[in-house]
Symmetry: C2
Subunit: 177 residues, 2 copies
């Protein structure tokens, strides 16, 4: 009886291990992990060159500068797609505010300037085809005014939108000379 009990317990343990160890092929694991979120702000981003500028109205209500590190800017200027490894495209978003000072000087309500940082102040896309294979070769990051990463749940919306820009390697912004 003792030996039978021991064997039964052993079988039960092994069965349990099998049940709680799901068989996950590489591809499935990558899909589950998507999007892969980057947690560090790239060094020196505020010194990067300008890709372009934009205004998002509606709920975002921001005005933004899109910048690129040297690898990204070189690729943009040469019209090279897809972007090479190491390319980083970033954007800074400030609140979109009417400038009373400017309007007074111009005598017309026409001037809108960059105000305080928005809730998603800084966002970056980092190119690493292997590391971020599950999200089109780009890792996504987003930070508030204090440099705190945006919560991961919200980050799941990055790739579904960006992946629609198939003819420019998932990047919305075009370079404006």
């Amino acid at each position: 009886m003792k030996r039978t009990t021991f064997l039964l317990v052993l079988v039960a343990i092994l069965a349990g291990v099998a049940v709680f160890t799901p068989i996950t092929p590489r591809f499935a694991r990558a899909q589950e992990a998507a999007p892969i979120v980057v947690k560090e702000i790239p060094a020196g981003y505020r010194d990067w060159k300008v890709v372009s500028v934009a205004h998002e109205a509606g709920q975002l209500n921001d005005i933004r500068a899109v910048l690129g590190n040297d690898i990204a800017i070189k690729a943009y200027r040469e019209g090279k797609l897809p972007f090479p490894e190491g390319a980083i495209v970033g954007r800074i978003a400030w609140s979109f505010v009417a400038s009373e000072e400017n309007n007074k000087v111009f005598g017309s309500n026409q001037s809108f300037v960059a105000g305080s940082p928005t809730d998603t102040y800084l966002q970056f896309m980092v190119k690493d085809s292997k590391k971020y294979a599950a999200t089109g070769g780009w890792g996504y990051s987003s930070f508030d005014k204090d440099g705190k990463p945006t919560d991961e749940a919200a980050m799941k919306s990055c790739f579904p939108c960006h992946q629609k820009i198939t003819d420019r390697d998932f990047i919305f912004s075009k370079y404006t000379p």
Copy 2:
């Protein structure tokens, strides 16, 4: 008679010279010459760092990046006023256009991007306290999309507006981190 005639002619000539040679002190001459227009586009301006971004609605209907050369950016970041000699602040203005591509992806008419260069595509203020003393120490320049300077008559409107920004050395744009 001949001598009298000669003397009269001489007096008339001298009087004429006196009349047509106005007495112009240095200050008056500087005023007449204002604004001093700069005719060259600064080299490498498209690689400069971002001061801020802005949108001018109404007739201008542009979106713009304000950039600075290293001297200007350093002064901005250190909050130093007036700007040192050699500082150049520039702005690139693109037409303000709705992005149908972005709006389609977002499912909302919210996105405005930089389009083609405007009629006053590039503008710069160059700090040289002596050379441009008549216009607050800044020389002004403006260029269209082909790099052709804006006509000088239009340039007369630069300083009258800028000189109203007395507490920031005649510069509208504030640095946004």
